[in-house]
């Protein structure tokens, strides 16, 4: 909910990760670099469909691809994932701290109510 320091990359990372096929591709790549053909095998998808997903992952900086024309191996880049993890942690911290303050507020509000009731 609170803005992050690296917003554009974070949102493109989140968008890229929001798709199950792309997550499966990343999981596969965590075992090591491989070719597009190899990647396409378990997904029952056409090569162009897989390439589309790879482009999204590449734009998000989650994968890097080799430049040789014949065999363009795909490789995982975990950097942006750390930003997602940071965003999640930031969110958690936001609510932890808000809840600490809510705790204090509720104690103070109840003390006030008691005082008022006694005066009646």
């Amino acid at each position: 909910m609170v803005s992050s320091t690296a917003p554009d990359r974070l949102s493109s990372t989140l968008a890229a990760l929001a798709d199950p096929t792309r997550r499966a591709i990343l999981a596969r790549l965590s075992a090591g670099e491989t070719s597009v053909t190899e990647l396409a095998k378990p997904f029952r998808m056409t090569l162009p469909a897989v390439s589309k997903h790879l482009k999204v992952l590449e734009r998000a900086g989650l994968i890097a691809r080799g430049r040789s024309a014949q065999w363009r191996p795909c490789r995982l880049d975990a950097g942006p994932m750390r930003e997602v993890a940071e965003w999640v942690q930031g969110y958690q911290r936001f609510w932890d701290e808000s809840f600490d303050r809510l705790d204090d507020y509720l104690i103070a509000a109840q003390a006030k109510e008691k005082k008022r009731d006694r005066k009646r």
Binding site: L14, A15, F94, R101
Partner: protein, 155 residues
């Protein structure tokens, strides 16, 4: 859409029990002058705090950090069930571009005079780009993310 958020696994869950009756906790969430007193990280104030707690109503808060930096946030109430449940969806936008949305489901449960508050967050994708190839909204990246991180740590 709210149904799907209910059935899907939340991306984040935060639970806290407060030593206060549910009525008071509810008021602290739905009355702007009360919400302004606790919402946000330690040391923050809320110079703007507007809460229209009914379906379709808006939540607008501008949080101010101790250094004076302001962080505006906005959300729309999807569902409000008195004393029990609030659902709102907030857009996380950067430089005027809505990049993704977070739906938050807050439930309030009476625990013998104390109140248990649970926040479940669902990250919704909303960019034209992310709506691309497969279309529709999808949720639940974070559990896969955990698995992926485990895999990375193992590799």
């Amino acid at each position: 859409m709210i149904e799907s958020a209910n059935s899907a696994r939340p991306d984040m869950t935060i639970v806290r029990v407060f030593d206060a009756p549910r009525r008071l906790v509810w008021q602290a969430w739905t009355e702007p002058q009360r919400l302004a007193q606790w919402f946000g990280p330690k040391g923050f104030t809320n110079p703007v705090c507007e809460v229209d707690a009914r379906p379709g109503g808006a939540l607008r808060v501008t949080m101010q950090a101790p250094d004076g930096t302001q962080y505006p946030m906005a959300a729309v109430f999807d569902e409000v069930i008195e004393l029990e449940r609030i659902v709102w969806t907030g857009s996380v936008d950067h430089d005027g571009n809505v990049s993704f949305a977070v739906r938050q489901v807050m439930t309030f449960a009476d625990r013998g005079g104390k109140t248990e508050v649970t926040i479940q967050a669902f990250v919704l994708r909303s960019t034209p780009e992310s709506a691309g190839a497969l279309g529709g909204m999808e949720q639940g990246w974070s559990q896969s993310l955990d698995k992926l991180e485990d895999a990375l740590a193992g590799g």
